[in-house]
Structures are given as C-alpha cells and as structure tokens.
Symmetry: C2
Subunit: 490 residues, 2 copies
C-alpha cells in the first residue's frame, strides 16, 4: 500500500487500473481477458446482486438457470443475434484430453472426442432460453413468463479492461415472454426504470435514459432502452440495457400461443441485463486521487475502526472503551470492521482504507478514552473531526445517509454541468474534445450517425423521447425530429 | 398435473424422474447432459445457497470469483488431479465463428481463430486458484486465505441424470491456504462438520461422516472427508466432500511462504464443495408416492392457501376473511402463497402442491367463514384437520417446526434401521442385496476393496474413526483395524 496512486489528471486510464489493483477489487488472470474478482470487489458485487435480486422479485420475477452452452444450430437460429455475436464466441469442440504420447506428464486433446455439433459458450442466452420456452408455452394462460438468471457469459473481446470489458463477465439476464406487444414494451420500460432507480438510489450514480439508435441496439432487438452514465473523464458508459425483442425470437424458435380468442400468435419477448461492468461505473463515478469512494449502501462495511495501541493491554483498554459503540452500531445494522493488526502502522492503515473507499473511518487512542472522544474521518470529503463517543453512533448513522445522498447530488451536478447543446457541427466538434454529453439535432439517418462517429469518435448514446423540439441536423442540414445525446464512450 | 406419479415400489428411478418433472424442479435441455433448473427448483437451491453462504461467512470465509477457463498447461500441473479429470473435460479450441460459405445463414467455426493453447472449462478450480494464490502469498502474515466461490462447473459425464449427475452443475467450492498442516486439517474437518449440521438442521437429512478410502478420494487430495446420506432405495449418495490437499497444489504451482522463523515452506491447502446434487438427495430422502416432501426451511413457501369460490364476489369474501391470518403469517416470517386461479379446480390444485411438497396447505370456503374455521393439510403425513381461524397462525408456526424435526427424526431412524453389521462375506453379500449401509471389517488394502466392488457393486462409502475395534477382514481374512461403511451408491 506504500505505492502512490497516479492522479486522475495525469493519466485517467492508469489511475483506473491502479485503483482496481490497490483497492483489491480484481486482477488479471492467467486466462487471456478473464479476471479474478477478489474478495473485496466481490463483496461489493454481492451488494449489487442482493439489491437487484430483491427489486426483480418485488416486480414479479423469478430466478432460474439455463445451460452454459448453446449448440451451434440453436445459436444461429436468430440470424441477427447470431451475426452480432459470431465473431466473439468461445467454441467447445472436444470433450476429452489424453496423455501426450511424446511428452510425459502432459495432456493433449483427444481427437476422437470431437463433438458432432460444436457448443458455443453463451455470450447471452436468448437462443437456449427461447428454445426452452417453446415447450413451456401453449396458451395465453402460460404467459407472462418473467425469469431472471445470474450467470457468467463469455464474449471474446480483443482489447480487455478489468470490469469494463472482459472475455468472461458476471451478469444477470432477464428473459420474459408476453401475450401482447403492449405488455412486452411495458416490461422493457419497467426494467429500464428499475435499473435507473437502482443505480441512483444505491450506487449514487446519475444516469440519462432513452433508446438506442438502429446501429447501436442489441443484435436481434426491435428497440433497446438503456441507462448511460458519465465518467469523470467525460466519456459515457453504458450501465444497463433493456431490450424489446418483438416476435423475433418467437419466430426463430417457433414459439406460438393460443390467445384468449383461440387464435395462434407468436409470443412477444424482452431481455435485459446489467453486469460486473457496473463496478467500472462505480470506480469512475466516485473515485478520487486517494482511491475508491464507496456509497455506504454498497460498501462491504461502512465503518473501519483503527485502534492506536502499543501493547495488547492498550488494545484491551481501547476495545473495552469501544464496547458500547460496537453494540450500538450492530443495533443500527451498520457494518464495521476493526483492524487490530500490530505489524502495520495506523498511517498505512489509513491509506489502505482510503484507497478502499470505506465511507467512515474511526480512530481511537488512549487520549480518546480520557476525553471520551473518537476521531471520525469522512472519506468522500477527506475531512477529520473529533466527536464525543456518546454521540458517535447517532452521528455515524446520519452521516452515512448524508454521504449516500451527497454522492448522488455530486453525480447529478457533474452530469448537468457536462451536458451541453451544440447547435452546429463546428460547435459540436470543439465541445466533444472536452468530453461530456452533447445534445444535438440528428436527422435519424445511419449515414449522418456514421459520419459523426468517424470524424469525432462520438456515438449516439441515447434518444430521449421527452425532447420533442424539431430542428436541423448538425451534419446533414436535413430536418431533425429531436435532440439526441452524443458522447465518446467506453 | 393429471398424470399420476409412479409408485416408488414399482420403479424408483422412474418415480425420481417424474417428481423432478412434475414438481417443476428441472428438465433436460437441448445441450447433451445439461439441465435447465426451473424457477421452483431454483428457489429451493437459493435457500440452500443462502444458508450455506451465511454459515461460510460466519466461519470466516469470503466469496470471490475465478475464471471459467483453465489453460491446459495449468490444468496439467498437478498430475493426479489432471489425470482424474482429463477424460471428462469440455475443451475450448476456437474463439470465432464465420459464415458458412456453402449454406447461407449457417455458421461454421473459423479455423483461423484456433487458440494457441486450449482452454479447459473448469471441472473444479484448484489449478486456476492455486496459480492465483501464488501471487498472493509471500509470508505467514498473508495466511490463512479462506475463499469460497459459487460457480458452474463442467464434467463431461456419459450417463447423466437430473441433479445427480449432469455435465454442467452449480456448486460452491471453497479453497483455503494455511501455514500449518494442523490448521489445514482442522479446516477440512470444520467444513465437513458444517456440511453435516447444515444438511441435518436445514434439509432434515441424516448423514454418516468419515474419510474416503485411497481409491475413492479426490484426485490430488491427501485425505477426503465426506458426508454420505442413504436414499430410500437403499443406495448411498455422497452429499458433500471436504479435502485436505496437503502441499500437493503448493508444490505443483510453487507456492511458498516464509514462516514466522523466516524459513520458506510450501503452503497447506484444503478444498471443499457441495452442489446441486443436494437437490437429488432432498428428493430421494423425503419424497413419497404423492411427490416431493419439503422441509419447511427449504420450501420456497411454507404455506399454500387455496380459496374455494365460484365468483369474484366469493373470492373477495374469502380474501377479506383471510386478512388477519395473512398479516399474522407475515409477522411470523412465514412465506405463503394464495392460488386464486379460476380455471383450475381445487382438487387439481391440491395435487399440484402435494407433488411440489409444500409443507402446509390451507383450504378456505364460504362455510369456513360461517364457522370461523380453516382446513389445514399437513403434507408429510398427508393429514387433514379443521382448525379455528383464530388459532391458525400459532398452529402453523408450531407445526412447521414440528415437520422440520419430524422429517429429520424419520431420516435418522431410516439410517439406523438400514445400517447393519456383517461379520462375514456371505452375510455381507446377502445384506447388500436389500441395500443400506453395511459395516464390515476391511484389511485396508485396495485389492480387497476392488474385489468386493467387483463382486457386489458395493464401495467403501466412508471410514469413521470412532470405530476402533479390531477384527478380521470379511474378504481376505487378514487383520482389520476397524469397521468401515459399505454401500451401493449413486
């Protein structure tokens, strides 16, 4: 922990990688592009999982589990979806190893175990799930089906970055089936709103929402809704997507149902997901030059207590002094940890938990016992204060709420301050250099979208229907129906 | 649900498969040997997960996540482990598909995307984890490491059965690292005891515990501890294992630490796991000729309420009547579900929840409102009674505890009644025909073990150190140090 963190202004990308490593969130593994999620990082992911899982169940969803592998013939059934993922698929071709006849103690693939049909490691599960739903759905009485799955998926990315883009990642994927288009669209929107409120309430990250342009939407979807966050370096990050799949998968897998009038119709579908990418959003939304900054609701523990002692007798005195406070914290359901290691100095411990972003640090020495005090350090503002031990638990409880809200407020302000309107292409080009979201008129054509992307690297992040003012497309000069959000993105 | 369940006495194996299907626990998927875990089955698995996860954390373990893939060179590093799993490995050899130049709309593996080194889909994670631990461990101060992972693993089994033996299954795998042999052995035992008490307290399944013989232990372990349950057909089922790995993996991956005297030594290891196989144990321990029987602590909901009504007005009256009871159940943290479907008769609903093993069924009609009563049905004993609505919540609360205990008691009795001592081989051979555990003297040699296995299909399920009486091996006539448990097994 003696290594110093690079400043964001010096090298944002290096700063990110160092936080991931120094806060012990994750590390690169021996497998190309795959990561090891370390206990501290995984504990944050578990908090994300638990809260999302509760929200999914509260809105009538159930969990289930579908196979890791997709037979090639199923994978290719929905053509657009297959095309979208074909170039990044891990493919299982054999099911056995045997002893290498040449090198002793080594193994080689047994060519006799070649599979008749290759298996794709799921990059997403629409194919295997809709092939299953086919047998579950006969009548409108079998609908809706609202299932979520927590799983690992594999997309063979060439350039990987921990949490942001890895060959294997963890996610949840919801897959629902409905009897009407209206209900499926409602579900798609409901989940996108659920994502938005989760990310805001729980992760203190402000997002914009809307739909994707034709070229940016999910392969196989009719419409993709999304939440997009803005990182401190001015680049956007897609934090969650919810897809209205129309009847595309029902048609590809021949999933029909008899409606309440007895007629056969194809089933309507949605799918939606968020992934360990959210960890990247978390780091880049709140982190500062001292390390990670965690919203209390996501922190594996909200309070770290550091006793300053020179002997086990002194440590006993301090622990005795802390007894009441510990009980009070327990009663308030505030998770705390005490770091009693005697081979690391308090100063080093301070650094360690600053890098790890623990919201509140308490420090107690012998003098505090005399004075009935405790030193409280607020991580997000890097501010120290001396408070009375009697009032500590109350203060901490209030402060945790305040930190959670303050981080969201800061995030909202940052989003607002970094969202600009460009009325012409020359303004757009100069604005995009300094990052942020740029609202600009676009004629709706892929041609204009691609030209902007090629010349500025900015893409359409989302189309917000609440903007209705017509105007002139900044690049083609043709009529535009509305302003849309542009940004450079992760 | 109109299909009738096969009786256990007619065809135990068919009975098992039908319960899995009719109780909507799981089904065969389009992928050879892989299963779909359906929502009701997954909800039971979630209860198992939550409770185990709590117990792991309470004993100082943390969760983390390691890659799905193991590069072949790491996989083969610990030779015995590699040898044990080589014949059942799914192997990824390519990372891209491309359009089939001959068949339009079809995809083929892109031969240009062949991996330099093949990736094994993890059958277990010792290799990838110990290759990671290598970088985490320098000194005794870095130890112990006590990590658990919830994950999917793949073992290419030729004969598969839902939950009991599938190509992909879900499990938890703990991997710990210690500075002394003593501590590692303690951890191995602690976890095996944790498994035993979890399975007994929570799943109401009685088990025997002990160590495996040389030929039955985990590939790469020094010693394998296990819990073994006895199914109703007299076959044993290995329900959990905890391995003392010695320094085998530390040596294979060169993981050394400097001890408190400054000398370098190899790290001591354990690994341990339980899987979705527990679902099979659950079905075959408690199920009866009417379907699944769930211990209340594992049931997705403990109480199913079936209103008997002919109009929505009648349903309103009943719901109104139930309001108090519903609130009381909520306060008691008892999960209930009300089945208000109007296209399915109460009789069919009765069958459905009997097959699903819901511990308590309540049935309410208009006459109950008049009489201030409610009909209560106890699933494990298939007994109906009419009780007062005012006392219902209290009765239910007590009854749930009683059912949980009663199932364990029954399981214990079954285990006891089906464990016999064979003093000679002829007795052994006749006893093994009717199933159950047989305690017999064994000389400790693999030769004797294999002979018994070949001639009777019985294997040594576990060696319980509490048996210390010496005797004569039933097959070789040589001296034996103790009685060991034999059985035919799943």
């Amino acid at each position: 922990m003696s290594k110093k963190l690079t400043k964001r202004s010096e090298d944002y990308s290096k700063w990110y990688n160092e936080i991931v490593s120094m806060a012990e969130l994750a590390e690169i593994s021996a497998v190309r592009g795959c990561m090891v999620i370390k206990p501290y990082g995984y504990a944050i992911w578990e908090k994300i999982q638990n809260e999302l899982d509760t929200r999914f169940k509260d809105t009538g969803h159930e969990n289930a589990y579908f196979p890791l592998f997709v037979p090639k013939s199923l994978f290719e059934a929905e053509e657009k979806n297959a095309e979208g993922f074909a170039k990044e698929c891990a493919v299982v071709t054999h099911y056995r190893l045997k002893n290498d006849p040449i090198k002793r103690g080594k193994l080689i693939v047994d060519e006799e175990s070649k599979l008749e049909e290759e298996l794709i490691v799921r990059p997403t599960s629409e194919a295997i799930i809709w092939n299953t739903y086919k047998n579950w759905i006969q009548s409108y009485r079998d609908l809706p089906i609202k299932i979520n799955q927590w799983a690992n998926v594999v997309r063979w990315e060439m350039r990987t970055r921990l949490f942001l883009r890895t060959a294997e990642f963890l996610w949840q994927e919801g897959h629902t089936a409905h009897s009407t288009k209206k209900e499926a669209v409602q579900e798609t929107k409901l989940i996108n709103n659920l994502y938005k409120s989760f990310v805001e309430d729980f992760m203190s990250i402000s997002v914009i929402t809307g739909t994707k342009s034709e070229s940016e939407k999910f392969a196989g979807a009719e419409e993709t809704y999304c939440i997009e966050a803005l990182m401190q370096d001015g680049k956007a990050l897609q934090a969650g997507t919810s897809h209205f799949l129309g009847q595309n998968f029902a048609k590809a897998f021949d999933v029909k149902f008899s409606n309440d009038e007895g007629n056969l119709d194809y089933v309507w579908a949605t799918s939606w997901g968020v992934s360990t990418r959210l960890m990247g959003a978390l780091i880049m939304s709140h982190g500062d030059d001292y390390g990670l900054v965690l919203p209390p609701k996501l922190s594996p523990y909200q309070v770290i207590i550091i006793p300053v002692f020179k002997s086990s007798h002194e440590l006993d005195l301090i622990n005795n002094y802390l007894n009441n406070l510990k009980n009070q914290l327990k009663d308030l359901a505030i998770d705390y940890k005490i770091d009693e290691r005697d081979n690391i100095s308090p100063g080093k411990k301070f650094n360690e938990y600053e890098v790890k972003g623990v919201p509140i640090r308490l420090c107690v020495g012998l003098r505090d016992i005399e004075n009935k005090t405790i030193e409280l350090f607020r991580r997000d503002e890097m501010k120290k204060s001396l408070i009375s031990i009697c009032e500590a638990s109350n203060n901490i409880s209030k402060l945790l709420l305040e930190i959670q809200e303050s981080l969201l407020k800061k995030s909202k302000l940052f989003l607002k301050n970094n969202t600009k309107v460009a009325s012409n292409y020359s303004d757009f080009k100069s604005m995009i250099k300094s990052g942020g979201f740029i609202l600009a008129h676009w004629d709706g054509s892929e041609e204009s979208e691609q030209k902007i992307k090629k010349e500025t690297k900015a893409t359409i992040r989302c189309i917000d229907d609440s903007f209705t003012d017509e105007g002139i497309c900044i690049i083609s000069g043709r009529k535009s129906k509305q302003l849309v959000y542009f940004a450079k993105a992760y």
